[in-house]
Amino acid sequence: MDYLDQLEAEAIAILREVAGQFEKPALLFSGGKDSITLVKLAEKAFRPGKFPFPLVHIDTGHNFPETIEFRDKLVAQLGEKLIVGYVQDSIDQGKVIEQTGKNASRNALQTVTLLDTILEGKFDACIGGARRDEEKARAKERIFSVRDEFGQWDPKRQRPELWNIYNGKIHKGENVRVFPISNWTELDVWNYIKRENIELPSVYFAHERDVIMRNGQWMAASEYLNMDEEDIITRKKVRFRTVGDMTCTAAVESDKDQIDDIILEISQSKISERGARMDDKVSEAAMEDRKKGGYF
C-alpha cells in the first residue's frame, strides 16, 4: 500500500477508536495545517454521518486574522459544532497573568484555558494534530496519551501501546489526548494536503507582510507583538511553515505560492519545522516541560 494510504487508514482507524471508546470526545482545532488535515480525516472516518465530537478551538486572541476567518468558513461548510475557549477570559478571570516584555506570548497561557474548556465540556478525549517528528519529547508520546486530573503528562508512567490496540480506559476526571497523525512527518502532511486538494489559510502561501527581525527570525509585525524603537519594520515576501500565535510563529522568506513549490522548498530545507517556533527554544526540554503541565 502507498505510504499516504497507509497513514490515512491508520489515522481513520484511530479516530473511529475514539468514537467507540469515549463518551464525550472533542477535536482540538487550531486552524493550522495539521488540525485541518485531522478534519479531513474525520470526514473520511464518519461521513455520511455527523462527527461524533465538536471542534474545540483555544483562541489566544493573538491569532492570525486569516486563521479565524478560515476556521469559521470551514465550520460552516462542515455543518459541525465549534466550541471556542478564550484565553482573554482566563486573563479577565485572573487565572493567568499576561506576560510582559519584548518576547511576551500567550502561548503558555493557553494551557489553563484548554484545561478549563476540557473541564467545562466534560471532554474525556481530546484529539490533536501533534506529530512525533516535530520534537523529541513528542517522539516518545503515545497515540492515546493519558492525562491526569491536572492535565499533566507523565512520561515515565505511560501505558505500553501494542499493535493497533489503544487502551482508552480512564478514571473520572482524567482525559486522553489522542494523536491520530503521530506517525506522519511534516512532508507527509503537505503531500496529503496536495493529494486531497485540502484548502489552507492564506498565510501558508507567499504574501507581502510587514515583519521585524527577532532573535534571527522574521516575526509578523502586529499589535500583539511588544515592539520598541530597536525593531525596524520591513516589508518582505514571506510564508508561514507552522501557524500558531502571531507572537511566537516566525515566517520564512519565500516567494512560493503554489503547493508543489512549497513541498519542494520544505523537502530541501535545512531547518526543522519547529525551528520557527520561539516557544520551543526556551530550553532543551521546553516541550517536555510544557506537556507535563498540560499542554497539547
Binding site: 505500553p160 501494542l162 526543522s272
Partner: protein, 415 residues
C-alpha cells in the same frame, strides 16, 4: 513508495543509538537546527566529535543518564522508502518496552558487539523477536573497527547465531558486519571489509519485501463503529466502519459475523472517496451487508470459509508489563481489536527464563516476566493463533482498578 517499520534492539554499549544516529546523519535526515542543538550539547565522544546517540534520547532523564528508557519513534525517508524506527532500550528491565516496539515492527535489527559475540542479551532480544513473530531479522555485527575488520570474527558470530535462529524458528535472518561509529556498511559499502559481498544496512532496508503474505491470510474485519446518519434521505443507511485486519474482502463475498455466527453477503464496500470492489488488509472502510443483522462495535466480520477460532477459554503467551504482580484471583479487562470484555487469568502454565529459554514453574508473575497462561473471558473472542496471523492474534490485558495496560497477549489456541 511504502513504509518499513523496524526495531533496533541492543544496549547502550552496543552502539545502538550511534547506529540510528549514523543512519539519520548519513541519509541527511538531520536538519541544521537539530544538528546545532546537538553540537551545543555538552556530551561529546572521546575524540571530541559529536555524539550521534543524542539524537535519539528524548527525555530529560534519558539525556542525564545517557540511556534510552522508553520507546522512541524516529522517521526518515530515502527515495525508495519511508522508515519508522522504534528505538527501544536493551536492558532486561525494559523488556516490556522492547515487546511494545516489536509489536508494531516488520523487521528487527539485532546488534551484536563484535568483541563479545552472542551473549545473554542477544538470546533475550532474539527470543522476543521470535515471540512477537517479526518477519525479518537483521543481525548487525557492530564495532568491526575494533576487531580489525576481521572476517573470521564475523563468520564465528554468524555461525553461533545461526544455531540460535534455528532454535527460535527465525527464518529470515541477514548478517551484516558494520561499524556504526565509523560508518562502515551502514549507508555505503565499506572499503575496510572487501570480503563482505552483501548489501549495506540501508540498502537492505530499502529493498527487503514486507507484508507480502498478508493479503493471502484469511479475511478479518473487526467492527469499530456503526455509521447511522438517521437523516431523511439516509434513513436506512447502516454502515459498519473498521479497518481490514487481514486478507481481502470483495463485494458479493459471503461473510460470517462473529461471535453470533450469522451469515450474510457484502452488498457494498465504500470509503469517503467512493465505492470499491475490493478492500485489502490495512484499509479503513465502511462495509454494507445484504441482510439486516444486529452488529455492533466489538463484533468481527470474517470470510465464511476460513474462520477464526471462537472461544472463551484461551491459551496464550503473556508478557507482564506492570510492577504489580499478576493476580490469579483478579478480574481484568482484555482488549482484542475493538472487542473489550472481562477476563480472568486462571492458571500460569510456565514462565520462560528469557536469557536461557528454559521453561520454569512459576508461582509469581511480575514485571517483564514472559510465559504461558490460561485465560477465561466473559464474552467469546474471535481470534487467530498469533503465529499464523498476528493481525488478529494479539490482545492486551488492562487492570480494572488502575486502567493501566498490564499485559501483552499472543493468543495461541482454544482450550
Amino acid at each position: 513508495m511504502d513504509i518499513l517499520k523496524f526495531l533496533t534492539a541492543g544496549s547502550v554499549d552496543d552502539g545502538k543509538s550511534t547506529l540510528i544516529g549514523r543512519m539519520l546523519y548519513d541519509t541527511e535526515s538531520i536538519l541544521q537546527d537539530q544538528l546545532e542543538a546537538i553540537q551545543n550539547s555538552s556530551r561529546k565522544n572521546d575524540d571530541g566529535s559529536i555524539d550521534l546517540a543524542i539524537l535519539t534520547d528524548g527525555l530529560k532523564a534519558e539525556r542525564e543518564q545517557g540511556i534510552t528508557i522508553d520507546v522512541a519513534y524516529k522517521y526518515f525517508q530515502t527515495e525508495k522508502r519511508k522508515f519508522i524506527i522504534a528505538d527501544t532500550p536493551g536492558h532486561i528491565q525494559y523488556t516490556r518496552n522492547m515487546v511494545t516496539g516489536a509489536s508494531n515492527a516488520d523487521l528487527a535489527i539485532i546488534l551484536i558487539d563484535a568483541r563479545k559475540g552472542v551473549i545473554e542479551q542477544t538470546i533475550r532480544h532474539s527470543y522476543l523477536v521470535s515471540l512477537l513473530a517479526l518477519e525479518h531479522v537483521v543481525v548487525c555485527v557492530n564495532k568491526m573497527d575494533m576487531v580489525d575488520y576481521s572476517e573470521e570474527v564475523f563468520e564465528k558470530i554468524h555461525a553461533d547465531y545461526h544455531s540460535l535462529a534455528v532454535k527460535l524458528n527465525l527464518h529470515e535472518v541477514t548478517f551484516i558486519p558494520v561499524s556504526a561509529l565509523k560508518g562502515d556498511n551502514i549507508v555505503n559499502n565499506s572499503l575496510n571489509m572487501p570480503w563482505y559481498k552483501g548489501k549495506s544496512l540501508l540498502d537492505h532496508l530499502e529493498t527487503v519485501p514486507v507484508r507480502e503474505m498478508d493479503a493471502l491470510l484469511p479475511a478479518r474485519f473487526p467492527v469499530q463503529w456503526v455509521i447511522r446518519p438517521q437523516t431523511e434521505e439516509l434513513h436506512d443507511y447502516r454502515g459498519y466502519a473498521g479497518r481490514v485486519a487481514s486478507g481481502a474482502f470483495k463485494v458479493g463475498d459471503t461473510i460470517k459475523v462473529l461471535p453470533s455466527g450469522m451469515k450474510s453477503k457484502i452488498a457494498k464496500i465504500e470509503t469517503f472517496d467512493g465505492e470499491h470492489a475490493i478492500a485489502e488488509e490495512g484499509k479503513s472502510i465502511t462495509m454494507h451487508l445484504e441482510d439486516e443483522i444486529d452488529i455492533s462495535r466489538g463484533d468481527m466480520i470474517s470470510e465464511a470459509e476460513r474462520q477464526p477460532i471462537v472461544s472463551n477459554l484461551i491459551e496464550a503467551d503473556i508478557c507482564w508489563m506492570d510492577t504489580r504482580e499478576l493476580d490469579i484471583s483478579a478480574t481484568y479487562f482484555i482488549q482484542h481489536n475493538s472487542k473489550l470484555t472481562r477476563c480472568k487469568i486462571q492458571e500460569i502454565l510456565y514462565k520462560v527464563n528469557i536469557n536461557t529459554l528454559e521453561k520454569v514453574n512459576a508461582d509469581a508473575f511480575g514485571l517483564n516476566d514472559i510465559g504461558r497462561v490460561e485465560i477465561k473471558t466473559a464474552d467469546e473472542l474471535a481470534f487467530d493463533p498469533y503465529e499464523t496471523n498476528k493481525r488478529n492474534g494479539g490482545a492486551i490485558i488492562i487492570d480494572s482498578r488502575t486502567n493501566v495496560t498490564v499485559g501483552a497477549l499472543m493468543l495461541r489456541a482454544a482450550l
